[in-house]
């Protein structure tokens, strides 16, 4: 498998992506994520109008006995066997995603087989992550009748899925090849983010002032981060590592902005050969995994008294949408557990992840603008091309469309709640049902990211020099400046506390 084919390539550069079949895809992954996310969102809203359309789906809770690990989401389906609920959820997702795969012109039988494996392994990891000895926080031990636990919360299922993916990706090339049609972390995370919009809409509804502040501060942090990160990484790559412009610009965007998407958008903007952003992207995915494994735990240790600083830090420092939002989710769980144990403060769930997501969404929005600026600088100043004009339409072409889905679910929930305050409890329950799918898409993202991280292959490619720039800039500069920016904007801004 080539490193190129092993990557989570963004659909915004359709012109560079080989379709599995000869026909062009009917839709790109961004729009597909919007469709699937909105479909789940609309079904969940049935609850608001008295139709419990998703109550039968499976959900896992912290368990000491495997028989009690699973159950249907809604009490209305309490009599439904967890086995049927699990199978039903799998069949539902298989049907929806297969329709999507068909639109992407993927090989359907291979997708179905691959998805079955991805779902099975991912959900098994999720169940394992809910085991009380791994997940239970200290305040829950007495109720669960256990004397100790790792207190990793149920989000540890994400880490377990990531480890499982790493094992498959690095030690079983055949298995990896067999399931690769369904290894689509970008599709899974973007769908999850669309669904997440509604969940965060509820949080914003309950804390409007705080939500407004978070949006404003997130926007500020991003503008600053773009301008401070990119030039230094570009300078280091050009001046000290001797990279050509064609390599340095996508590398700077990949390291400093938003990994894969930014590297590819920049590569296109400066007219680099397709191989350049693809090579850079392979590095981005690998280091995103390293960050994902380390930063949330560092944040738990050092930032549990400033949870939203940690959330912004995950969004700024961890590259790729999947890894950043996933890091936010893990940091959310770990920090809340630590804050409760160390200070007795029970922060509301979702705010840390919400800040990570907000920051990441702003980063994605800015990619198109930044690619436009670079395209103009390159064509007008660096590599002057007579008669060539940079179209403003390029900003829209590079705009990550899945964000429209995120904004739509967020605004719809907010508007519904503001217009009909009496429905807020039902909307909250509906978003709880949609959130079940968000968790499933998350855990599949983790597994897929792990599967794509073929360390050995990259080493064979002679990645050392690229990796040296990456390590130096990411761990010597981006992470710390990202932390400083997050601290400057978010310190003292705290999530709401759970009442009672």
């Amino acid at each position: 498998m080539s490193s190129a084919s092993a990557l989570a390539i963004e659909p915004r550069v359709e012109e560079k992506l080989p379709a599995t079949e000869s026909k062009p895809p009917l839709i790109n992954e961004d729009w597909l994520a919007v469709c699937i996310g909105l479909f789940v969102f609309v079904l969940s809203l049935g609850l608001v109008f008295g139709a419990d359309l998703l109550g039968w789906t499976i959900t896992a809770s912290v368990w000491t006995s495997p028989a009690k690990a699973l159950g249907p989401t809604s009490k209305a389906y309490a009599n439904l066997s967890p086995v049927f609920s699990l199978i039903g959820t799998y069949v539902f997702l298989l049907a929806v995603l297969s329709a999507g795969a068909k639109a992407l012109r993927a090989n359907l039988p291979r997708f179905a087989k691959g998805f079955t494996a991805v779902f099975a392994v991912s959900y098994a990891c999720w169940i394992l992550g809910n085991w009380a000895y791994i997940a239970a926080t200290p305040d829950k031990r007495q109720a669960l009748k256990i004397g100790w636990s790792l207190s990793l919360t149920n989000e540890s299922g994400f880490i377990i899925a990531l480890l499982a993916g790493l094992v498959v990706g690095n030690f079983s090339t055949r298995a990896c090849e067999a399931i690769k049609e369904a290894i689509r972390p970008e599709l899974y995370i973007k769908t999850a983010i669309v669904i997440l919009g509604g969940f965060l809409g509820i949080a914003a509804l309950e804390q409007r002032q705080l939500a407004t502040s978070v949006m404003f501060l997130g926007g500020c942090a991003i503008v600053v981060a773009y301008l401070i990160f990119w030039p230094i990484v570009y300078f280091v790559a050009r001046r000290y590592f001797g990279f050509s412009r064609e390599w340095a610009a996508p590398l700077a965007s990949g390291i400093s902005i938003c990994g894969v998407s930014a590297a590819i958008a920049t590569g296109t903007a400066i007219k680099a050969r397709p191989v350049v952003p693809i090579m850079v992207s392979s590095l981005v995915v690998i280091f995103a995994v390293v960050e994902l494994m380390a930063l949330p735990f560092a944040a738990q240790h050092f930032l549990y008294h400033q949870p939203l600083v940690a959330g912004a830090w995950m969004g700024l420092a961890v590259k790729t949408d999947g890894a950043a939002v996933a890091s936010g989710a893990i940091a959310d769980a770990l920090i809340r557990a630590k804050a409760l144990a160390a200070t007795g403060i029970a922060y509301q769930a979702g705010w840390i992840m919400g800040v990570s997501t907000t920051v990441k969404v702003f980063i994605d929005v800015m990619i198109g603008v930044w690619a436009f600026v670079l395209a103009w600088v390159w064509s007008a100043k660096i590599e002057r091309r007579e008669g060539e004009k940079v179209r403003a339409g390029q900003i829209w072409e590079r705009f990550p469309k899945f964000i429209l889905g995120y904004v739509a679910t967020f605004v719809l929930v907010l508007a519904l709640g503001l217009a009909f305050p009496g429905l807020v409890t039902k909307i909250k329950a509906a978003m709880g049902q949609a959130n079940v799918f968000r968790a499933i898409f998350f855990v599949m993202t983790f597994f897929a990211i792990g599967t794509l991280s073929n360390f050995r292959k990259l080493w064979q490619e002679g990645i050392a020099k690229l990796a040296a720039v990456y390590v130096l800039c990411l761990f010597g500069y981006i992470i710390w400046v990202g932390l400083l920016i997050s601290w400057l904007f978010f310190h003292g801004v705290l999530p709401p506390v759970v009442k009672g």
């Binding site: 301008l227 030039p231 390599w247 090579m279 660096i382 990645i463 690229l466 400057l488």
Partner: protein
Amino acid sequence: MSEPRLTEELEKMKGEYEPLLPIERKLIWFTFGAGVVLLAALVLISRAFI
């Protein structure tokens, strides 16, 4: 389609060093300077109003 190997790409770069152009230097320092100034301004604004 055969893909160029990264090692070959890096070897090629050694022999064809592209010095930093004045416009690149301008881009680097103007962008960084703007970032630092904006950082100070936005932190002050956010502290004043939030």
